[in-house]
């Protein structure tokens, strides 16, 4: 499935949250959205998921405007993982993941659906926690449960809003490795908002840089995430180092406002 954004804009009254953002996402691609807090990453992801309406431009999946697609069908195309936590006290892990299959469940739950839940939990090595209650988990484990729910949804396009923010570095790498493998294997794509520029650098095929709702960069990580770009967007001085493991960005100093 190909996702094309054209001049997507969103304003809350006079405040512009997104200003004519255009880019395309192809199958097997991971697109990283980077930018400072309040730059519009979450707003853009919610606009694609049709959680928030846009005020201009079009978002189309294979040429069809997302607003014209029935919510039920859209649920099979887009899998959204929110930034914040929202869960219910008395829900267990597997029940939470099972919700990803909501569209395929009429009343009783078939063994097939349960197998899919089991698979997505196993993919993230969360199988042993299946029977636990959500409030018995650590913040990082909970975040993995929400990712597992999106995996169980088996969408064509994953929309992750800072999925690794509560994970420790090991889990961050694991989750991104898993997502890269899944997108390659299933020919699916993923749009992910991240703060860690090195994660974007290592795992994204395309990096989209947002600043105050405007798209200020779009392209391969090595072309876009330059010290100049980071300085102008984040106000941070950085340098890149390269060794046998790849290229890394090292931010080292915040520039004082002029």
């Amino acid at each position: 499935m190909e996702l094309v954004l054209e001049n997507v804009s969103k304003a809350y009254g006079a405040q512009v949250a997104l200003d004519a953002v255009s880019f395309a996402v192809h199958p097997s691609e991971i697109v990283a959205l980077v930018g400072p807090n309040g730059s519009g990453k979450s707003t853009l992801i919610k606009a694609i998921a049709t959680i928030h309406a846009t005020t201009g431009g079009t978002i189309a999946i294979d040429g069809r405007d997302v607003r014209s697609i029935e919510p039920i069908e859209l649920a099979m195309l887009l899998g959204y993982v929110p930034q914040g936590f929202s869960y219910t006290l008395y829900s267990t892990v597997f029940e939470t993941v099972l919700m990803g299959r909501r569209r395929y469940i009429r009343w009783s739950v078939s063994d097939e659906e349960l197998s899919r839940v089991q698979r997505s939990l196993d993919t993230l090595e969360m199988g042993q926690h299946a029977g636990k209650f959500m409030d018995e988990l650590s913040g990082g484990e909970r975040q993995k449960v929400f990712i597992a729910r999106a995996l169980a949804q088996e969408p064509a396009i994953y929309l992750f809003d800072e999925p690794t923010s509560a994970l420790d570095i090991r889990y961050q790498i694991e989750v991104m490795e898993t997502m890269r493998r899944i997108t390659r294997e299933q020919q699916t794509s993923m749009i992910v908002a991240v703060h860690d520029l090195n994660l974007a650098y290592r795992y994204a095929d395309v990096v989209v840089v947002l600043n105050r709702g405007k798209m200020v960069g779009c392209g391969k990580p090595c072309d876009v995430l330059t010290p100049d770009c980071i300085r102008s967007v984040y106000g941070v001085d950085s340098f890149a180092i390269e060794n046998e493991f790849g290229k890394f960005i090292v931010p080292f100093r915040a520039r004082l406002p002029p």
């Binding site: 006290l89 597997f94 839940v117 042993q128 409030d135």
Partner: protein
Amino acid sequence: MTGTPQDAPAAVSVHSLYKSGSARRLALIAGLSLLVVVAAIFSAGIGTVSLSPEDTILAVAHACAVSIQNFLHTYLPVAGSWYDAIPFTVPAPSNPQAELIVVGFRLPRIFLAILTGISLAVAGAVMQGLLRNPLVSPFTLGLSSAASFGAAIAIVIGPAVLGGLLAIGSDSFVIIMAFVFGWLSMLLVYAISRARGVNQATLVLSGVVIGYIFSAGITALQYISSNEKLRDLMVWLMGGMWGASWGAVLLLIPLTLIPVFLLERMAWDLNALSAGDDVAKNLGINVNRLRLSGLMIATFAASCCLAFTGIIGFIGLMAPHICRMIIGNDHRYLIPCAGLLGAAILLVSDTAARTIMSPVEIPVGVIMYVIGGLFFLFLIMRARGRGLY
């Protein structure tokens, strides 16, 4: 190797977890159903005249047999003679008054308590799910007060003014007024819940405030109403099962069970809504439509029952909560369990209300305030340092 086709870690498979969970939930439904039946038999037997359980059951069975016989003889004489030929008779209870006491007086009251318990508890469970707030219930959202205000208007002004125009009976007028005002309060709550920046505590607070406003209206009505109407009104506001009659019960059976069925059909969407509005939308659920229609149906069921019983508090808070603690959050099972537990709690409380100080009755509303208030405190204490929802 345990012979499972997959090499999944045998510790906890999702399949076995799901099956054991379902079994536990079905067991709870069965247990609660049994509890309601036993409580009903027990309740029908005690009072100013106490009857043995055998007499209670015989009284009901005998009355059923006699009325079936009468029905057949009147409308289907052929089947009637066939029925008479069956060598099966239900003996009359040993206490000759048993049938009148049980069927005439106690059973309608028992049914009213059960139906009210079901509708308030189911409404509470659904409202908690829809608004994603564990502290909401028909009582805490002001619905009870609002519906009672509507019913109070109907009692004080009487059907003469409006009901006469619509040519409807006074019972239906009370129900319609209770529903209209109940629904009005829910619309207010819904509007508040949609406003930006409203958190869960604010929602409950605004419900309490809405409740107070309608309570003030009730007080004003008490002040202006005549003596005999005031008495009717007071009986109402204390909340009790005095309004019980077979007519009321037969009316309430469909008015309770149809909404429960409709709400039960929303169970999966309610489950998905627990993941939050944004995720629920992404799962293909029309969140606004679900919330509005769910609130409307729950309000309808609760208001209809409240129209006959007056203000009964906290049952819609307690029953769903206890069930959530036992079987978790799957609304497919939570809705029936909460309904049955609500029925059991209200039935036992009402039985206590009419027997503790026999022959003087305490309004069951008063008992529910005491039990429910303590439970509310327990919830608040338990929630400290831990998310409620």
